[in-house]
Every structure is written in C-alpha cells, then in structure tokens.
C-alpha cells in the first residue's frame, strides 16, 4: 500500500471533521485553528521540497533561499522590532530566520519519516493490530484493518510545539490504549524494523 504526505494530511483533517465542535480535543487546545494553519504550511512545504528529503543540507539551503526571497516576511521582522514592548531587536529577529529555516527543514524531514514509518506500520499491523503509535507525543496513528486499511491520524494540539524538537530524530511509542509497551528514539537514516521486531519479541516472550 502506498501512502503520502497528502494522504496523511487528509487523514488528519478527516479526524478533525469527524469531531463535533464540542469535542474535548478542540476545546482544550487554544489556537487550534492557528495551529492547523501552521500544520498545513508544514505539509505543503514538505511536499514541495520532496526532492530534497534525502539531503538535509540541500533542503535547508532551499528553505533558506525561499525565506530570503519572501519580502513580506522580512518586512514583518522589522515591524516586530518597532514594538518597544518587544524586547528583541531587529538583529535578533533577522538571525531567527536561520532558526526558522531549521524548524521548517526538520519538520519536513520528520513528516517524510512519519509517512515512511506509517507504511511499515501498516504491514506490521496486518499481523498485529493491537497497537497505536505515537510520534513525538504530537501525532497518534492507528491502523484500522479492512479490505483497504484506513488510518486514524490524531494531532495532540497541546503538544504541537514538539514539532520543534525533531532535529536529531523523534520519540516513537507503541501503545495499547494508554499503556506504553515500547518506546524508542527514532533517528533519521535508521530503519524502523528493529523497533517493530522488538515489539514482536516482547509479545512472544509474554506468551
């Protein structure tokens, strides 16, 4: 089964659509719609940079080039620096652009790895679908097996800022309900197979 960043974003939106407006997840999260807009931006950036997924340096260079060409964004940094209540000066805000390029680049890499991991998890879940998998405490993925597997993709909006903590890799947990069965720090360029095998081994040793 193939799966893409577009598919993941559709699944995230489908979960949102299926919640009613009084749902706890929406009420508890302030700025939910603003975060959704940021998430949309990350997904579209990720998709537009797919040629660079395998080379973080080139990806970062491309993101930085695009930011530097964004005149509105640059003007915004100046505008912010005019605010006396805002303690940061313009020099600092300009330098933050490089940090911002890192944020976008690593968020893109994270999303691309999540998609790869989901494909591996779909295969894994054909034999064992007790688990749901949580990526860096921000994205919860459950595979619903059927004639064609479907994905429940839930964003934990309260942990949205964890998208900025994916530089060297991310935490991945296999859970049954609220209980964590196994967790790992998933590094980029490593395979997920070892983690999935460990889950299987745990099951076997528990039998």
């Amino acid at each position: 089964m193939s799966y893409s960043t577009d598919d993941l974003f559709v699944d995230i939106q489908n979960h949102i659509n299926n919640q009613d407006d009084t749902s706890d997840s929406k009420i508890l999260s302030r700025d939910f719609m603003h975060k959704l807009k940021v998430l949309q931006f990350i997904f579209y950036s990720c998709e537009s940079m797919k040629n660079y997924w395998n080379d973080i340096d080139s990806l970062r260079k491309e993101v930085l080039r695009s930011l530097e060409e964004n005149e509105q964004l640059f003007g915004y940094t100046f505008f912010l620096s005019l605010n006396k209540n805002f303690d940061y000066n313009w020099n600092y805000l300009r330098k933050q652009m490089y940090e911002y390029a890192d944020f976008i680049s690593y968020a893109c890499i994270f999303i691309s790895y999540v998609v790869e991991d989901i494909i591996a998890i779909i295969d894994f879940s054909r034999k064992n679908n007790k688990y749901h998998f949580v990526f860096n405490e921000v994205l919860d993925i459950e595979i619903i097996n059927g004639a064609s597997p479907s994905i429940n993709a839930i964003i934990n909006w309260n942990n949205f800022s964890e998208l900025n903590n994916v530089k060297g890799g991310y935490y991945l947990s296999a859970k049954i309900g609220s209980i964590t069965v196994l967790a790992t720090h998933r590094e980029y360029n490593a395979s997920l197979n070892k983690f999935l095998c460990q889950i299987t081994e745990l099951e076997t040793s528990n039998c």
Partner: protein, 350 residues
Amino acid sequence: MAIKIPQEVITLLSELSCESVAEELGIKVQRHRALCFMHDDHNPSLFFYGKNREHWNCFVCNKNGNAINLVIESTGLCFVDSCLWLCNKFGIHIDNNFSSIKKIGKLHVKKRKESNEVKQFSTYVAKWIIDNNSLTETGRDFLFGKRFFNKKVIEDLNIISIDNSSILVDKLLKHFDSNKLQNSGFITNTNGQLYLRFFTPCLLFPYYDVEGNLVGMQSRYLGDNTDAPRFQFLSSQKTRLFNLPIINRIEYGDDLYISEGITDCLALLSDGKNAVAIPSATILPTNDLYELKNYRLHMYPDQDDAGERAINTLKRFFINHYTILKEESLQKGIKDYCDQYIIAHKNDIK
C-alpha cells in the same frame, strides 16, 4: 527573393488538425478546447471543430481559421514562415529550395494580453434580458423534466432560458443603441452582423453580489452541437460566487454548502440546503469565498480527480482563514451531487 507557397501545400496545411498544431505550439488542449492566447482567458474559449479538428474558433475574440492562421495568430509569424514551420513539423514535402532558404527555429506563443482594464458589464442590458425573458420549454425540460429541481428555487434565482439568439438580438436592438449593445458584453459584431455571445438554446444564470447587484451572467448550453462549449461566461465578468446573496438570509454558524458548478448548487438548494457555487476550481473567487468563513462549510466533491483537486484547494484556502471545510461523501458509484439528487427524486416521482 520572395517565396511563394504552392497552392497544393496550402491545401494540405489547411487540412491539418489544429489540435495537433496547438499542442506543437505548447497550447494545452483538453476536450477539444484550450485557453485562448489572444485575450485574458480563464475558461477555455478556444475550441477546435471539424472532422479532423481542422478549424479553430474563439467565441470571445471572434477569430477563427485553420492551422496556418493558428500559427500566424499565436506566434506573429508571417504567412510564409508559418507554412514553412508547419511543413517542417508535420512532414509535408515542400520544394527543397524553400526549406533551404529559411529555417524556422523553435516557436513561442505570444504572451496573452493581460487585460488590466475592467470591462463594463452592462447591468441595464443584463437586467432587461432577465426581465423580458422567462424559462422556455427547453429550459423547463432541462431543469424540471430531467433534473427535478425545485421550481421556487429556480424562480428565486431569476434563471431564464433563450432558445433563439437572433430573436433576442432583434428585440435588444429595438431597445438599445447598437454601440451600447456591443459594449455590454453580450453582443459581438462579426462582419457587420450582431450576434449574441452565448450559444443557444441555453439557460442563463445571473450572478449577484452580496448587496444584490447584478454582476455577471453565465450560460449553460442546451443544444446538440457537440462543438459548442457547455458553459460560457461573459468576458467582462469577474469570477464570482453564484448565489452569494444567500448569506444575507442565514446566520453566522449556519450550515452552508459549496459546490463546483451551478447544477450541483441547484440540486443542493432543491434539497433544502443553503448553497453557493464556484464556477470552476481552477480560479477561486477568493474575495467572495472570504465572505463565507463564518459559516459551517461543507462540500460534496465530485468523485473524480478534478473534484479531489477542487476540495483540496478550497480546504487549503479556508484553513488559511481559520475555517474548516467539511468534506461530505456521495453514495458509492455516484459522480456528483446532482446525480445523487436526480436518482433520489426520480424514485420519489415513481
């Protein structure tokens, strides 16, 4: 030395498929239509017809011709150079002396004239047409006989139909000055003769802004000519939402459905839903769409690639304005909402 293209070569060139020529020129052709390169076109106005699609016509610019004219008009080349290029591209033998005289390199279609001028849409002429025409038998058959739309919905939207364009033009000439008509957006002058821009028979759908001002018109062709475009917009009409005034009758937070195309919108309205329509997903009426952001938005996308693209584009637009557009599902095997509506109501009537 002047080059004269032999008549037999000209005859061969004039029988070439203009669609093939268009594609060689880099003009994208879909379903025998393309965006016109001669005016600021957003809904394909250039169409190709004839057994071998050897003719082309833009019903907005009122220009037409064969493959040679197509090259001349799109590239600015002279007649001879256009012929030489076509011979080279399509393997038509021409005297070797000619081909050695001139080599035509890669051609580029001239940049479309971007019109910054806001062309006037004559509300007076539009209003007169609406007030002095009604639904004909052809229109009623399409809307009620085949699609079972609600009669009050159609009446409230001031939808009319025109069977015979010549009769309408004659009536218009009795009420309006000829020059005013030609500047109204509705009438075109070809070789001294005035014609209605819309192919008939057709339905006419008036577009209103949120204040209820008449701002545009769209037609839906009802005839048998397969070369006629199904939908036409006046060149003077900016892309707007159809049925925008509905937001004056609903409250913030009420459900509102967005459809791609007017017939789905009519089906939704006939089903008792609040609905507006975008004329096409390729150009979003962003100013009008922005007015919708305070409502609970829904869409039944068409079950095809274009429908998927449409809803993803709209979802993206609304997320950027902090609003969710909820995707609704059609019954399995149904292409669009109108089809679903027809099936449901056909059974009711039986």
